[in-house]
């Protein structure tokens, strides 16, 4: 089979054929900046399809650094870097904890950059930029407020004193455990250490 079939941007199912047009799945939503996702979904209805990036146009690098990998280290960064061979444009994404998601975002960023280069003022980013500039400001403000509350520079009014226990929650199981239908043994599998 030609390399086309192997590529991320050339998947078998139509919905996932081009990474850039596929809407994000809900599973991954919480990890994306909200404003970004919402806007791009809305706008994609009015806009022409994104530029498809072929796998043989790019070199993808997972930036694993030197030294051993595999079982020997447990990395938390899954940065993805794309180099577009014809233009030499390089984009990098380490936004999320999911390498797959970073790959998708990086491809979209690259697509935007290429389009900017090719279409200038007509490009999606230019149009989007104009439309978004108003919305962006308020979204930004909101996010900042939230972040500040967490940072504690402005202690949130609802916050109480931290009670004892909750080890389970810190291990991240509490939330999932709740969604699992009650009484399942599997839910306990995740709990407690």
């Amino acid at each position: 089979m030609p390399p086309l079939l192997h590529g991320l941007s050339q998947r078998c199912l139509p919905a996932r054929t081009t990474l850039s047009t596929a809407p994000f799945r809900t599973v991954l939503h919480p990890l994306l900046p909200r404003a970004f996702t919402a806007t791009s979904l809305q706008l994609s209805k009015q806009m022409p399809p994104r530029r498809v990036i072929l796998d043989n146009e790019i070199i993808e690098n997972f930036l694993r650094g030197s030294g051993p990998g595999g079982q020997k280290i447990n990395k938390t960064s899954c940065a993805v870097q794309l180099k577009h061979l014809p233009t030499g444009i390089v984009v990098k994404c380490q936004e999320t904890r999911s390498r797959q998601q970073n790959r998708k975002i990086a491809r979209r960023l690259l697509g935007d950059r290429l389009e900017e280069l090719e279409l200038g003022e007509e490009s999606r980013t230019a149009v989007k930029g104009r439309e978004k500039s108003k919305k962006k400001k308020s979204a930004e403000k909101k996010r900042k407020r939230k972040y500040r509350a967490l940072e504690g520079k402005e202690a949130g009014g609802e916050g109480g004193l931290e009670g004892q226990g909750g080890e389970d929650a810190v291990d991240g199981v509490e939330e999932e455990g709740e969604k699992v239908t009650g009484g399942e043994k599997a839910a306990d599998g995740g709990k407690g250490g």
């Binding site: 199912l13 447990n74 380490q94 390498r99 609802e158 916050g159 109480g160 004193l161 810190v170």
Partner: protein
């Protein structure tokens, strides 16, 4: 480890008072900022959930504790409770190895090749030994069923750790619950000790693979055989693993147990592979994918596979097998080396495996293939295991 520059610490502190602590495990500012963002989100989420339950929760305090634990070296994945593996979010828990991105890359390259296969059987059976969180069978199911609804998948994960099996089962449930497991895929997990021989005394709770498979009434033959076994030698464990791995991840998952016969350090690290290859042969696997630590171990494992004389082809994959081969001068290697990065896995195929992988049909007739399998059974010691078990 070199000390962090004061200027860097000061710069970090100016951004957020927690950042200097996170620089300890992360070493660079961008990575520390990423982790802080994820920990903040997590603290916020946990606090919301606790409040919803009517419990008190202060995200600030939660965040502080998370950051302190992280600074002490606890892996971020244990703190957040999950790691991404392909498109799946896999639950992680202390006591069970955190899935690695390199493993996902190998597995996804394999599934990418299989997706294009024209002659897959109506039921494709995939065996994953040393399954840990269960991440590999779940990812294979996710990647394959997406485009190959024409193929029924049967996947079996095996591990010796009860904790791992419970977590794998949990991950299976979660994947199902999220609607991410197709009806065309059946996943199960069983308990077995892969280093135990059928002749060994079988303690009450532990069986060798063959007996465990008989006991669970799973089929004896499997098409695709995958394993990421413990592969770090004792010396390499102390020299090359990071502190966070040594301090927080289970040694059982990383270093093979002390061999009965005297062995060099290198042989100690390789212990699982002859066992795995013999099991791959016994289940008549057509494709075998084994993860390794580096190119040197890859070479040794490929050699072992070659010596069994049952495979049509053997190649070595680096961390990114889908990228064009690295040009590092002429490597004198008996086996093709694919992709870029560290040596990461060994791929072997026989019979119809070659055509499934797009490597072309087997040069060996089915009769000769059966003969070489039989021959290999006969010369290896597990010939006797085979005879014994077939009587059961």
């Amino acid at each position: 480890m070199p000390r962090l520059a004061t200027s860097l610490l000061r710069e970090a502190y100016a951004i957020h008072p927690c950042l200097p602590l996170l620089l300890r495990p992360c070493r660079d500012l961008q990575a520390a900022r990423n982790e802080l963002r994820w920990l903040c989100e997590h603290a916020g989420k946990v606090a919301r959930l606790r409040r919803a339950k009517g419990r008190d929760a202060d995200p600030k305090q939660l965040l502080k504790r998370l950051v302190q634990e992280r600074a002490a070296g606890k892996p971020l994945q244990y703190l957040l409770g999950t790691e991404f593996f392909g498109d799946l979010e896999i639950r992680c828990q202390p006591g069970v190895l955190i899935p690695r991105q390199e493993t996902a890359a190998s597995v996804m390259h394999l599934t990418r090749l299989l997706r294009a296969a024209l002659d897959l059987p109506p039921e494709l059976r995939v065996l994953d030994l040393c399954t840990g969180t269960g991440c590999i069978p779940l990812l294979i199911a996710d990647e394959l069923t997406r485009c190959r609804q024409d193929v029924q998948l049967r996947l079996l994960g095996v591990d010796v750790s009860d904790k791992a099996l419970r977590l794998a089962q949990y991950n299976l449930h979660q994947t199902q619950r999220k609607g991410r497991l197709s009806d065309t895929a059946k996943v199960a997990f069983i308990h077995a000790d892969l280093l135990m021989e059928p002749f060994d005394v079988q303690p009450a709770q532990t069986l060798c693979l063959k007996k465990a498979m008989n006991y669970s009434r799973v089929p004896p033959f499997w098409d695709v055989f995958v394993s990421n076994p413990p592969y770090i030698s004792p010396a390499a464990y102390w020299k090359t693993t990071t502190r966070s791995v040594r301090g927080f991840e289970p040694k059982l998952a990383l270093v093979p147990p002390l061999p009965a016969d005297p062995a060099t350090d290198t042989e100690h690290g390789d212990i699982f592979y002859p066992h795995l290859l013999a099991m791959a042969r016994d289940v008549e696997a057509k494709i075998v994918l084994l993860e390794v630590a580096d190119l040197a171990q890859a070479g040794r494992v490929a050699e072992m596979a070659q010596n069994m004389a049952i495979f049509d082809g053997i190649e070595i994959w680096r961390d990114q097998p889908d990228q064009p081969a690295e040009e590092r001068g002429a490597q004198p290697s008996r086996f093709p080396i694919i992709g870029q990065g560290n040596g990461r896995s060994v791929l072997c195929w026989r019979a119809r495996g070659g055509s499934w992988l797009g490597k072309g049909p087997s040069p060996v007739s089915p009769l000769d293939d059966a003969r070489r399998l039989w021959e290999s059974h006969r010369v290896s010691s597990s010939f006797f295991d085979f005879k014994f078990n077939s009587r059961l």
